[in-house]
Symmetry: D2
Subunit: 359 residues, 4 copies
Amino acid sequence: MERLPVAVLGATGAVGQRFLQLLEGHPWFEVAELTGFSSAGHLYGDVVRWHLAGNPPDSVADLRVKASEATLQSPLVFSALPSTAARELEFDLAAAGHIVCSNASANRMQADVPLLLPEANADHIRLIDVQRRRRGFRSGAVVANSNCTSMPVVMSLAPLRPFGIRRVHMVSEQAISGAGYPGVASLDIIDNVIPWVSGDEGKMESEPFKMLGDLCGDEVAWLPAVAAATCTRVPVIDGHLVNLSLELAEAPALDDIHAAWREFRGPQPVPMLPSAPDKPLQVFTQVDRPQIRLDRMAGNGMSTSVGRLRECPILGYRFAALTHNTIRGAAGCSILNAELLAVQGYLGSFRPEPAAVHA
Amino acid sequence: MERLPVAVLGATGAVGQRFLQLLEGHPWFEVAELTGFSSAGHLYGDVVRWHLAGNPPDSVADLRVKASEATLQSPLVFSALPSTAARELEFDLAAAGHIVCSNASANRMQADVPLLLPEANADHIRLIDVQRRRRGFRSGAVVANSNCTSMPVVMSLAPLRPFGIRRVHMVSEQAISGAGYPGVASLDIIDNVIPWVSGDEGKMESEPFKMLGDLCGDEVAWLPAVAAATCTRVPVIDGHLVNLSLELAEAPALDDIHAAWREFRGPQPVPMLPSAPDKPLQVFTQVDRPQIRLDRMAGNGMSTSVGRLRECPILGYRFAALTHNTIRGAAGCSILNAELLAVQGYLGSFRPEPAAVHA
Amino acid sequence: MERLPVAVLGATGAVGQRFLQLLEGHPWFEVAELTGFSSAGHLYGDVVRWHLAGNPPDSVADLRVKASEATLQSPLVFSALPSTAARELEFDLAAAGHIVCSNASANRMQADVPLLLPEANADHIRLIDVQRRRRGFRSGAVVANSNCTSMPVVMSLAPLRPFGIRRVHMVSEQAISGAGYPGVASLDIIDNVIPWVSGDEGKMESEPFKMLGDLCGDEVAWLPAVAAATCTRVPVIDGHLVNLSLELAEAPALDDIHAAWREFRGPQPVPMLPSAPDKPLQVFTQVDRPQIRLDRMAGNGMSTSVGRLRECPILGYRFAALTHNTIRGAAGCSILNAELLAVQGYLGSFRPEPAAVHA
Amino acid sequence: MERLPVAVLGATGAVGQRFLQLLEGHPWFEVAELTGFSSAGHLYGDVVRWHLAGNPPDSVADLRVKASEATLQSPLVFSALPSTAARELEFDLAAAGHIVCSNASANRMQADVPLLLPEANADHIRLIDVQRRRRGFRSGAVVANSNCTSMPVVMSLAPLRPFGIRRVHMVSEQAISGAGYPGVASLDIIDNVIPWVSGDEGKMESEPFKMLGDLCGDEVAWLPAVAAATCTRVPVIDGHLVNLSLELAEAPALDDIHAAWREFRGPQPVPMLPSAPDKPLQVFTQVDRPQIRLDRMAGNGMSTSVGRLRECPILGYRFAALTHNTIRGAAGCSILNAELLAVQGYLGSFRPEPAAVHA
């Protein structure tokens, strides 16, 4: 099968690098174009300051960084742009016919942009049709993924929707890579905890509830739960852990919740996509798991780990959820979103066979 | 003034060392005796593996570690013993006439043992009279301080009692020194968060509410609030930070809470005690404070830092509170307790003048 | 091909766990037996406190830990035993017909025990014949690998032997996993450097020079170089970095050294073994590489990374060398040694085809 | 005694903050003026992002940051400027009559600028007379201190000059605060070692040898030793540790070296200066000391800790030396230099009494 050429915007940044790492050897997509702030005209391998283990993939090291997004040829574009840069550009690219799978926060809350997490809300993909109709796009579209700290929340709550989610109290402990590069100064975080993460509390109190909502006609009806989020930064490299307390309308036994988590796979064809983990949720019953360093790479960084489920004297239930913030929490989710778009026919004539690949 | 000879039990451990460091140069107390597991007969300076900065104080390095608590001469005894060792021994020492200020958890919840934090509940000291009467002690007594993670909770909630504390949701981020030495293995915590701290959640859900209770006759009536605690371990050396959400009966403005914190000093003579900080509470209005490394030493480690006060969509109020876990959270509080006992006449004929000293 | 059953001794420790992780899915070897201190009779998955990312491999979680090494059936035994336990036991097992590939230090310096690093001294394998003859072993033998800090030294010096190695000055910066579990207390190493590692300086000043020596008849003639080693511990999880200064008899250009490193593969059939990395040495010319976190996993943890080659005003040459201490520096090297033994006919009738597998 | 008004240039940076912290409550000097990049016109407390523990001293929080150095009134100026900013400005200020005690590297190697470390080379202060004569300064002068990593080298070698220092091999392990703020990105250093520190190796191979040289007439004759330095960065907050190997012309016993270190005080009146530590060198004989976190604050951060003295098979002697890089290694040394200038009559009519103060 011929692979689809894709572009990565903001390829020199922390999330951009993760896109390239995860796309190396991807069965369907092949990185053909790159953009990166102030690096235009240079070979990627010469200008990138690579922060991930090892070296940039050989296949992209020799790509020349493009000066402008205007000349992009790739039908599929992954955006790791800063929010201000992304706001208009992503819609411009969609207008020009590109499918933009974006990690930027700029357009997430637009009513006609799906905030897509395939296991949780694959049907939101149909917002693309609304978006195209409203904005006059023919073949292009903007599809977003959530911020990295919302991801463990949505992944762990999605299977619990049948129990009636009423109130969600969240306290996060977030890795430094969530701030990009150079991001958090080492003098600010070694032997320290910072009790605040700029912008994230607002996102956690809104994004998950759009994502967990129901698509009704042309709109997503948000999940009507009350949310409170406190975000803190801790000295770990990768992995965001969230301590959740939860009020449910129903009164499931703890075992019912464990069972809902264990059985959760997401709707077909999601489990067959090449980047989908075998188990979206890894469930721990040991008292001291999940731990960030031990469990962030579960399912190649695409699984969310949940544990410490127990009763909460105030809200009813509490547990911890952990997700790798730059894989499932960012680039990995964007890629999984693109895979879903591909099999659902949103990438033009490109139509891979999911089952064959994943097996 | 002649200083009172004191003994430190469990002097080689993490909290024991902090006792010795804080008692070095103390205006009222002088370390005269030491015990330490399996070190009996040796000079302290030869056997201690000192974990704090610098070296053991010269004044204790040449003390010989005692084989048995039975021979202790000091009227005042600080206990940094493990819980199982402390349970009976502390009462035996009290029966023998010693005042035991204990950091051990063993006897904290005994109804006739004051769980003392002078700024918050100095009047609980009168439980000593009950204890002596019930147990037949003449001049001895056991006085406990709380576990280290309860400390920031009690310090920050004490001034808010007039508003009616109804529900308290707590998520802690705790330093490694809270586990003693060798305590947490480095392989378990570098680049990691552990979502559970053995034993601490139960303590946080009980101890603060005894401490914040009212002494009614011979008993403490616990504060009747609903509590939920989640404890996590983070890779920092010292300092426990707790993220609190709070439901109050009244509806104070945020400024009212700020004001209550700023004005809080505790009852006389507490502010005049030599180890009392100028401000029990250091109040931050910057969005990113308190931070563990920057603020744990506020008030020489005896102040609690509070910040991030804001509304909570679920419980009404939320904020962060930080305390140095081995100073105010352990040895420092025991010493402050002993100072209060001294000026209140519980140390026999030893009766120092607080005002003179602190000024 | 039927896989050879192997036993792992000391399977619950840090190196033992790495053995199991690396043997999971090994093309030639299959873990059939385990021993572990004080865990006898239990299922491995129930008793191990797993420190590596994720969980114990499914294939070993259900193995029952054996009470005694006396009943081992596996022809090949990997030893991650503590030194004192290993000293006699390993020879007893060899006498009973087992091939013991050992990471323990106990028997490394025995004159008839090969201290094997296949790329550097594959021919030392013939010491097995000497060992069998001297000790009366028929089919068994003890084969050792070096301590973890010697590994980057030997790997980087092996290709430079033609230039005449005269003096080697080494200063190491070593990861905490080198001390096993629980090993280094977190209070001892977070925000700290310890300027000494128990036992390692002596090993670094001796082991590499046996390894780099020539097999002459029945004996290894050590490389006659003067060595000085200083070992320090730094707060990193995995990866030992050594800063070397070097005096050579010849005066090669820096480019000659770079070329010798780049071309180094070790003798056939070593490059064809399943655990052999494509490049034993990864050579960096960037000024700030190798870095421990970025480069420890080069070649799946089996490559040594070298860089910062430049002139030394005192000894002539200097550079940095980095090796993953529990993979190539321990379990991984033992497994590679066993693979070499297999293809050289030292594992009885078991004789795999290396080329087929590695390709 | 009236305190001398002083200015701090670059007051918002990492070293600038340390200047302010150390000058708080200084018996002779009082901070009266501040400059700071892009903060002109604002109150210092409003614009500084304070990285040290606690908060900016009250006495400087209300100072208004000055727009230009041209208007400075203070006779004594401490410079924490970046090198490029410092190069000409410092001499301009000296020409205008200011004494500039500088931590900047820009002018350290000018032949007529003393690179002053009072215990080691107090007599170099007389280069000021040369500088004034050559450059036409009447009352001003520029006095530099060395880079932070040279400090432990010079402090530990100064007492060994009588033994004839011939060759010095150095491998450093340096804290992140040495790179200023924001300095080292946390993604670059947590769980990592970087084997290179920009610019420091050249400084370590030159500065110590100017400092250890003899003042002969109008010039310093550098110590004619051969030097080799390798600099690495480790994840610690403060404190630079250097592993030294040393060739001496004489063959002192190890005890002779220990004795030379223990007796070292520097010439009068240096030991009487207010910032001088009781012991410039803290000597350890324990095998695992000095340790960065435990020993960096020795002598309030003004002492250098030495230990691990033993024979070196290659160069004869080896040991470890540790200095707090932003106290003695930067701001603290500048202040001590200024104190020496004061008592030697280089600060105009300001002439404090050292003995009285330090006692």
